[in-house]
Symmetry: C2
Amino acid sequence: MSFSQRLAHIAHRVERRLAQVLDDSAAGGAPPRLVAAMRHATLGEAKRLRPFLLVECAGLFGVAIEAALPAAAALECVHCYSLVHDDLPAMDDDDLRRGKPTVHKAFDEWTAVLAGDGLLSLAFALLAAPQTHADPAVRAELVAGLAAAAGAGGMVGGQCLDLEADKLGAPQHPSEAHVKRLQAMKTGALIRFACEAGAILGSAATKQRQALILYGECVGAAFQIADDLLDTHGDATVMGKAARKDAGKATLVSVLGAPAAQARLAELEAQAIAALTPFGPKADILREAARFVVRRQM
Amino acid sequence: MSFSQRLAHIAHRVERRLAQVLDDSAAGGAPPRLVAAMRHATLGEAKRLRPFLLVECAGLFGVAIEAALPAAAALECVHCYSLVHDDLPAMDDDDLRRGKPTVHKAFDEWTAVLAGDGLLSLAFALLAAPQTHADPAVRAELVAGLAAAAGAGGMVGGQCLDLEADKLGAPQHPSEAHVKRLQAMKTGALIRFACEAGAILGSAATKQRQALILYGECVGAAFQIADDLLDTHGDATVMGKAARKDAGKATLVSVLGAPAAQARLAELEAQAIAALTPFGPKADILREAARFVVRRQM
């Protein structure tokens, strides 16, 4: 199976699992309007990069796709909730996401806020359920890790720094270090955790877990730079969302210029691949994932 | 110690714990603006009813206040996050909360959305941490219970039903059953879980846990009816928030009329107190709590 086939296969499995989880929510008494908005936010064409990384990292330790799916779906719920809230008029004010109207456009603002809130709680419900792992210590560790990655010291904090730059113009001239910190929080933390979660699910030894965390950090940083380069040079039709949205935002492309950002991207790719050395050839799919993230066109 | 002294004492302990937890967030790299908004949302004069119920229910099984504080603080984070989001212009559009400007008034809308998001993740981070309980199975069970109570089948779902009635006029003539379901989700689920969480922390036997769940359901339902009666007849100055906000909303007061709602309140008080029978006199403080909820003026 080629890399793109494997990516599509896991995306398909995650999609089916998410659909099932949302059916369960509806059966459990969640209001139809809310479930419809949560479906809109999560289902449909998407790469499912974070679930992919989790599944493949767990696979290094012999964890089957099926066994990694609950945690993978939880991670995707958090990612999708963050998109719904980030797209809100008070935040990035986006009308289009993955080629579809954003949730507040397809429904309305209050439904979008609640759909995001519902997805975040759902993620923790999934992680804490016995299906995720037989050992409650593993489940508690996954919850703690996801909460840290998603919270004020992670993704939500990064979004705050990003909007401070965008809306309040603070800081006036962001340093490279500031932008790196912002991005390590905003997009990096969840991608890093995707890789770490695979190691947790697989009961990895500390050294192996550290290696996957480093890999995840490099891939996360590369992902954001590639995204910023795409925003500068990309094609909105191919991307399914608006381009040139980040003009007021602090990115490494705006701070370093495109050629230096491109060079940094190549560096991160090499570091990500080097981090996988302890795993030998069975990590080839993760090496391809690093290349994919660096070279992606959408 | 009288009931009101005990309530104030626990509120003070919870307040100090929340302040410490938010200091830890700041030290852990959460942006100052975000932490300031989270502080604004959580700190200050408040009854801390949910933490009180958790602490006192856990106390029935010999759990010390100190040992119950992390879970109690987690519960309060969820309650406060829900207030921040519910107050947003796209939702209830409230300017005043606990006598202070709401978070989106004191800061702005995007900060309020993120502060709520940050508090929700923080709650799960607290519950999953070893400080909450030595046994990871207890922590995972608390996470699962809170996620269910807070999520689309609980609090967030109830808020959706409430706003559907308010903004979309659906259903046109809500039945008593619809309003009960809405309120059991919107405010009931978290109050019920506060009591159940005390039982979980205390490793209660199934029968004891069921008794506390029933108590929590009655107190939760009573709390909401008392709230609706206050909204109809209460004094905004005493309450620290606007009165007569619920004119368009489905409440038991609007469906049944005030006298029938008042009678239902007395019934729930009696049921709540009866549920405590297995615990004998050591549950007296919880009996007083039921009376307090029914008779509160703010």
